[in-house]
């Protein structure tokens, strides 16, 4: 995948291109290091292969992230699709994975991923961001920090502000 911002211990680094390849349903699996749609992962990959840690999974807004619960130990990466940046389901999916299901590995946003939403994504637990390819990743980086005050709780800060004062 291209145009990536990745958090390493909370420090962002820019990755022009990494080894992960995002596959659509029905795409042939030719390489290792591919990220498969949730359905394909669940239905097409035999259990023995699931445990090899070579496949990542991506979820679409309609998917239920709870379906991944049994397989979290086998996954090197989970990606969440934003078909439109105005569809906010990915934020709750990220929250659920981090807070409810205990996912601690890499969580990547892809699709309509733009500078002005990056801080919200980060606060919901995303750790890497595949910025839309027609946008400058260096420019997008400016959106990562967001504002210094967050009143509410979030995936990365479960305490609302009143418990942090």
């Amino acid at each position: 995948m291209k145009n990536i911002i990745k958090l390493n211990n909370n420090n962002p680094e820019i990755i022009i291109q990494d080894d992960w390849q995002l596959l659509q349903s029905e795409d042939p699996i030719l390489n290792k290091k591919v990220i498969l749609p949730l359905r394909d992962w669940l239905e097409k990959i035999p259990e023995s292969e699931k445990a090899t840690h070579q496949y990542g999974v991506w979820v679409a807004p309609d998917d239920e992230v709870e379906e991944l619960e049994p397989w979290l130990n086998c996954l090197p990466i989970i990606a969440i699709q934003f078909p439109s940046f105005r569809d906010g389901r990915g934020y709750t999916q990220a929250y659920m994975l981090r807070t409810r299901l205990g996912w601690e590995g890499e969580l990547r946003a892809f699709g309509d991923v733009l500078r002005d939403q990056l801080s919200h994504m980060r606060q919901c637990g995303f750790t890497s961001f595949a910025v839309r390819e027609d946008k400058s990743v260096t420019d997008a980086l400016k959106g990562l920090a967001g504002m210094s005050v967050v009143y509410g709780n979030s995936a990365i800060e479960p305490r609302p502000l009143f418990r942090r004062r």
Binding site: D87, T92, P160
Partner: protein, 563 residues
């Protein structure tokens, strides 16, 4: 008055800088209009028919005199010298240049105001009634919890791109003056016999194309769980609310589709996971927020004020005004004053000039504690006026058109800006309001009619709340012409009702006649001092329909066939 602390200041200041940068990127085309749209909406900026409109938040309808003067300055410098107060207690400026918005937001931030989340598919301004903290029939002041919720929902990262807008209101008085039952979440705050605070949680109300009154989701939520409970509702809605059709995207449609029992199960299940977490509110936090509200230093006044009673007895006009435009205060010797923004044909409902704003700010300082409220009915409230000052205040208000004695009467019309401004509107609202106000300009007659609410919306989006007016008027489009559909029997408050369509729609020039006919039916049938709505409940819609359409109206008229 809520006083900002350094966190609140930092947030609004950073937000201005952020939006200034976003505007610059839009102007240089680094941001497309599509990308910019939700960003500007979440900063209160709409594109209307002729210009940008900026909607500024007035949390729980409360302003300081300094803030109102700031709004007057903005009206004078950046707009056409007036602003429009809305049914959700915000103010809208209608003639705004995009390039000037960052400077306007900066002025607002410097006065502890903002336009954050006054639009967009996110949690909007949290509302309470205009008399919060001062009403005689209040159980508790709802503002501390409203402020706690406002803070929690402001730029909450998970819930900024919901399926649709999300409105929350809190009420804690005998009379519901916050239109709780037409909100996505409506909260009734009360205390039990031990003095513990609880919330009765209502969900799934809303007007628009599919008007629905909310249903009870929880009868007795301990107040400390307010944040986690609202979080559970928003999370379930964010996951499962429809996104394929914007007219079916409000939470009311989800609640209706799966039923309140199933919905309640979903909420219970989600809530059980987060209930006992760090979001659980503490007494310390409640006290901290409650203490950030300015508490007026009321004088000990004796109930009997001779001059006031003499003035009432000797000046009929003053007495008439006092009979309508006051609201009982919890402190003896004080009252809340409602300044009507509905003088008739001279001003559209809710519109206030900068000179009027400045005058009201002066009165708030002179006669009150420097505080002003905006009511859901688009009027201005001075919450703390000594009864002995009423006569002076009334005389001052008369000189600038803010003393119309019509609160709660037929000409106290709620109206959206309509086709004159709004690109969504099918028809004009203001000219219809004015035509009705002109027809009913005889004050004695108007007062004899008593309480009748009349609400006008220029389209199905129902910003004028026509469904819950005793008389509702909805602008519709018929082959490119503006027509008006009339509903009867709507009501807000404790006994909320949605109005029923009377029949086929009318052209603009017919509307005042039809309203007059409707009123004449009421006159004919009313018993003793029965109000319009009670007569309507007793006799039903048929007598009104008959007179409105003449004797030959079709009795088998099918409401479903209407727009």
């Amino acid at each position: 008055m809520y006083q900002y602390d350094h966190y609140d200041h930092a947030l609004v200041q950073e937000r201005v800088a952020q939006f200034r940068d976003q505007v610059a990127r839009r102007l240089s085309d680094d941001l497309s209009e599509e990308e910019f749209l939700p960003l500007r909406l979440q900063n209160g900026l709409y594109m209307q028919k002729h210009a940008y409109m900026l909607r500024v938040a007035i949390p729980y309808g409360t302003l300081s005199s300094f803030q109102l003067r700031t709004l007057a300055d903005i009206a004078r410098i950046y707009d056409r010298d007036y602003g429009h107060f809305t049914t959700r207690q915000n103010i809208q400026f209608n003639w705004i240049e995009l390039t000037q918005v960052p400077d306007i937001l900066q002025r607002l931030a410097d006065a502890e105001m903002h336009a954050i989340q006054t639009s967009g598919n996110c949690v909007r301004n949290i509302t309470t009634e205009a008399f919060a903290g001062v009403a005689a029939d209040e159980f508790m002041d709802p503002r501390p919890l409203a402020e706690i919720l406002r803070q929690w929902s402001t730029v909450n990262p998970e819930f900024l791109f919901l399926p649709r807008k999300f409105k929350i209101a809190i009420c804690s008085a005998e009379q519901d003056r916050a239109a709780i039952q037409m909100h996505d979440i409506g909260l009734y705050l009360y205390q039990d016999s031990q003095g513990d605070k609880f919330l009765r949680v209502m969900v799934g109300g809303g007007l628009g194309r599919t008007p629905i009154l909310s249903q009870q989701l929880c009868e007795n939520l301990p107040w400390k769980y307010l944040l986690s409970y609202v979080e559970a509702i928003l999370r379930v809605y964010n996951r499962y609310g429809r996104r394929d059709n914007k007219y079916k995207a409000r939470i009311k449609i989800l609640v209706k589709a799966i039923g309140i029992e199933k919905f309640a199960q979903e909420i219970e299940q989600e809530w059980s996971k987060i209930k006992s977490g760090p979001s659980e509110l503490t007494d310390e936090e409640y006290e901290r927020v409650a203490n950030q509200f300015f508490a007026p230093a009321y004088e000990k006044l004796s109930q009997e004020r001779m001059d006031y009673h003499t003035q009432l007895a000797t000046n009929k006009d003053f007495a008439l005004w006092a009979s309508r435009n006051l609201q009982a205060h919890k402190v003896s010797g004080y009252t809340s004053v409602i300044l009507s923004t509905k003088p008739g044909v001279n001003m559209p409902p809710g519109d206030v000039t900068s000179a009027q704003m400045n005058a009201v700010a002066d009165w708030a300082d002179k006669y009150g504690f420097g505080e002003i409220r905006i009511a859901h009915e688009q009027n201005i409230v001075l919450p703390d006026v000594r009864k002995c000052d009423l006569f002076d205040l009334w005389q001052a208000a008369k000189t600038i058109g803010l003393a119309t004695p019509n609160i709660g009467l037929l000409t106290d019309i709620i109206a959206c800006p309509g086709g004159d401004y709004c690109s969504l509107a099918n028809a004009k609202s203001i000219s219809i309001a004015h035509a009705i106000q002109a027809r009913f300009d005889n004050l004695d007659y108007l007062h004899d009619l008593g309480e009748i609410s009349l609400n006008i919306s220029g389209c199905m989006n129902a910003c004028g709340h026509h469904h819950i007016g005793n008389i509702g008027i909805l602008g519709v489009d018929k082959n490119g012409n503006e027509f008006y559909q009339i509903t009867l029997g709507g009501a807000q408050g404790n006994n909320s009702q949605l109005g029923k369509v009377i029949g086929q729609s009318f052209s603009a020039h017919e509307v005042p006649d039809v309203i007059e006919k409707i009123v004449s039916v009421y006159f004919l049938y009313r018993e003793l001092d029965e109000s319009f709505i009670h007569t309507f409940y007793r006799i039903g819609i048929e007598p009104f329909r008959e007179l409105a359409y003449g004797k030959n109206s079709n009795p088998d008229f099918n409401q479903e066939l209407l727009v």
